[in-house]
């Protein structure tokens, strides 16, 4: 029998190790797996590489990982924003380095890893500072930059509903990076507002197939 549902967020993230590359879904504060992040803070694994669109704001979500000095490297498209003081402190002290990646390149590097591709050429970033140190090639008369796949050891994602097979249905703009991150990691953990009986998510409505998901934990009050 397949049953990926676990009882707690702590149990769900127990497999994370020091130094892991952790993909964290979300855009701004929407679709961010805040319960899994809090469990990761309790677990106290260090020297993490965090791949996420943002670097957290205020005192919740991603910001907690920087506040507790767990991150050695951040890979993000939009780290500089109001309220990101915990990231800024970690960055300015030299404790955490930053790799700035254009948002579409971030999504596509994850997709490349998910699809087993060795990278791709894109015009995004060509002729800019973010091209430094990368191979380039002219394709169809236009300068392209070679981008590498970005694979996670672990992905922490959210969904609206999930079942014991790991099938996930997302909701509105909380979908964002969650499906591609679920596909791009060796081990994927999903926090869902509601665990539903198998079959109650119409197969046509599954956004992230359960084959990509290893653990599911319900974190919301079941409606």
């Amino acid at each position: 029998m397949i049953d990926k549902v676990v009882a707690s967020a702590d149990e769900a993230v127990a497999g994370v190790r020091d130094g892991d590359v952790v993909l964290v879904g979300g855009f701004g504060n929407v679709g961010v797996p805040v319960h899994l992040i809090e469990a990761l803070v309790r677990l106290g694994r260090r020297d993490l590489t965090i791949v996420s669109n943002n670097c957290g704001t205020g005192e919740t979500g991603l910001a907690l990982l920087f506040k507790h000095h767990l991150v050695r490297r951040a890979c993000a498209s939009f780290p500089a924003q109001a309220g990101n003081h915990h990231f800024v402190a970690a960055y300015e002290s030299g404790e955490c380095e930053l790799e700035l990646v254009p948002q579409g390149t971030l999504a596509e590097r994850l997709r490349a890893a998910a699809a087993g591709l060795g990278g791709f050429y894109t015009p995004t970033g060509a002729g800019t500072d973010l091209m430094a140190g990368k191979e380039t090639r002219e394709i169809e008369g236009r300068l392209h930059v070679l981008e590498q796949p970005l694979r996670g050891d672990v992905a922490l994602v959210t969904a609206f509903r999930g079942d014991r097979f790991g099938n996930l249905r997302h909701r509105l703009s909380a979908r964002n990076f969650n499906p591609v991150m679920a596909m791009a990691a060796r081990h994927t953990v999903a926090e869902v507002a509601e665990v539903v009986p198998p079959g109650s998510i119409d197969p046509d409505d599954v956004h992230t197939p359960g084959i990509f998901v290893d653990r599911v934990v319900q974190v919301g009050e079941a409606p």
Binding site: F27, S77, L100, P102, T122, G125, R171, L172, S173, P179
Partner: protein, 213 residues
């Protein structure tokens, strides 16, 4: 004396006039978001948002925000008739695959060849690039909406950008408080002037040669 030209709202309205019926557009965060309110109601324009929305609607009334529905600036939004939701890979396939008719971006500097700098000032250590490089490189038309000069009165339309580039040779048009500039291979042409701004004044406030229409 430096003229005032158009107000910010008038600049947004001037740009909105040029967005055709049926267009798929992405309006960048900041000043470009003002454009929405000026699109003539008889035109059906679909707004794309990087975080996976095609057919974004206006902000919701207070108290009716959906916590799962935000725009690229992370503010609550709604969905318009005909909207669809997608994940980030599809959203950036829309951008990078050339499906957007127009991307409207803010600007710090635009060069005479259409280079755009809008994500980080020179010397600044930490910047956020977001989807700007993808939009600048991928949209069919890139229109920049910005003030004509910076806070110190220096031209923002220049011969060569001194700030780090967002993308090279990507800008098709610049809408400022002084003028609308068309950017071509061979330089800039003023295709509209704000009231009280003549070509001589425009040229005095611009860091690169400008042809009259």
């Amino acid at each position: 004396m430096t003229p005032q030209g158009w107000t910010t709202d008038q600049m947004a309205a001037r740009l909105a006039r040029d967005i055709p019926d049926g267009a798929y557009v992405n309006l960048g965060i900041g000043m470009p978001t003002l454009v929405t309110a000026h699109i003539p109601p008889e035109r059906e324009v679909m707004h794309h948002s990087e975080n996976g929305i095609v057919g974004m609607g206006p902000p919701p009334p207070r108290g009716q925000e959906d916590p799962d529905l935000i725009d690229a600036g992370k503010n609550p939004c709604t969905l318009a008739l005909g909207a669809s939701i997608c994940d980030h890979t599809v959203s950036f396939t829309i951008i990078r695959g050339g499906r957007l008719d127009v991307a409207v971006l803010g600007g710090m500097q635009v060069s005479a060849r259409g280079d755009l700098a809008n994500w980080r000032v020179a010397g600044q250590k930490l910047g956020s690039v977001g989807g700007a490089m993808d939009l600048a490189a991928g949209a069919r038309q890139v229109w920049v909406l910005m003030t004509h000069v910076d806070k110190s009165g220096r031209p923002k339309v220049v011969e060569e950008c001194t700030y780090p580039l967002t993308a090279a040779r990507c800008v098709d048009r610049v809408y400022t408080n002084f003028a609308v500039l068309q950017v071509d291979e061979d330089g800039l042409t003023a295709i509209d002037l704000a009231p009280g701004v003549d070509l001589a004044t425009l040229r005095a406030c611009t860091g690169a040669p400008v042809r009259g229409d």
